[in-house]
Symmetry: D3
Subunit: 69 residues, 6 copies
Amino acid sequence: MPIIEMHMLEGRTDEQKRRVAAAVTKAVSEALDCGAETVRILITEHREEEFYVAGLNKAQRAELRERQS
Amino acid sequence: MPIIEMHMLEGRTDEQKRRVAAAVTKAVSEALDCGAETVRILITEHREEEFYVAGLNKAQRAELRERQS
Amino acid sequence: MPIIEMHMLEGRTDEQKRRVAAAVTKAVSEALDCGAETVRILITEHREEEFYVAGLNKAQRAELRERQS
Amino acid sequence: MPIIEMHMLEGRTDEQKRRVAAAVTKAVSEALDCGAETVRILITEHREEEFYVAGLNKAQRAELRERQS
Amino acid sequence: MPIIEMHMLEGRTDEQKRRVAAAVTKAVSEALDCGAETVRILITEHREEEFYVAGLNKAQRAELRERQS
Amino acid sequence: MPIIEMHMLEGRTDEQKRRVAAAVTKAVSEALDCGAETVRILITEHREEEFYVAGLNKAQRAELRERQS
């Protein structure tokens, strides 16, 4: 049944999404020894203002590096 | 507490979303014998380029069938 | 494709899970007019110490009511 | 590793998102005694037609109250 | 940032989980052209009574096939 | 409505979970200016063999550091 939710920053092309879905399906199907048709992938894109590491988003981390350099 | 996340392809009307939310709430509330007001439903829509079965999205599966017929 | 994640407190019997899965599948399939075989349901159970409303879990809310009565 | 998915109704400003991400990161880091840089937060916004309590969305609940008053 | 949640039926060995995590990380990193250290994978296992296709779990589908054959 | 899913490695005590839930609820409620009773938190614990960074789990990363030192 593998059901795979992929969260990524927006900005990838449809071509990249197709490529990553194909590659992940192959990887899962081989590693778990299950049919590719049982693998489902859901992609959710997040805007930069919707992803935080250490409480900062990408723009905030860039500003921080700027100020520290 | 049932909290229910529904992932679906985009394209449903608001009317359809209201109908499915009402029907699922009733189903959960009756089957689990809990108050409807404890049931929360979150809908997330995915574009066609964001859902893959066997590593292919809807357009790719249609192309494949086309070529095979 | 509807893929449905249901979060619920642990303690339901297998029979209840089967019943709620069957009822929700029927509700989704009818309301969205899609084949039942396209509906996938994932249940995740949470212990009482893993679900909080207003920052309190079930035991804490019971204590609070006790003290307030 | 704490990875935190926050679902909220759309309409918050970027400033509010930054503020909630910073506050939650601090809260998690202190309460679990782990480095802030291990905390990741993903925000997913939902339109009003995508969130239901007791089978009703915000507009439907407002109508209901209207009719009952 | 890719953050990947993998839902699978329980029963895989730790060795299989390590293998699938390594393979998926490599696939994502190559297809999206991002560093492997930015890829995080969360595995959630589900018991057979917690996964339904067309409203039936694995045991129920086996019974059905039995009865139909 | 904020609904918050927290994924963390298993091993935290119930006391720590209560503390983090209370702290996150307060942070969200203040930063988003919404009532604490609208905030719901779901905790999901993952075993060490179920969380991977750069394709390696905690034990594998420790081994790697060991070998590199």
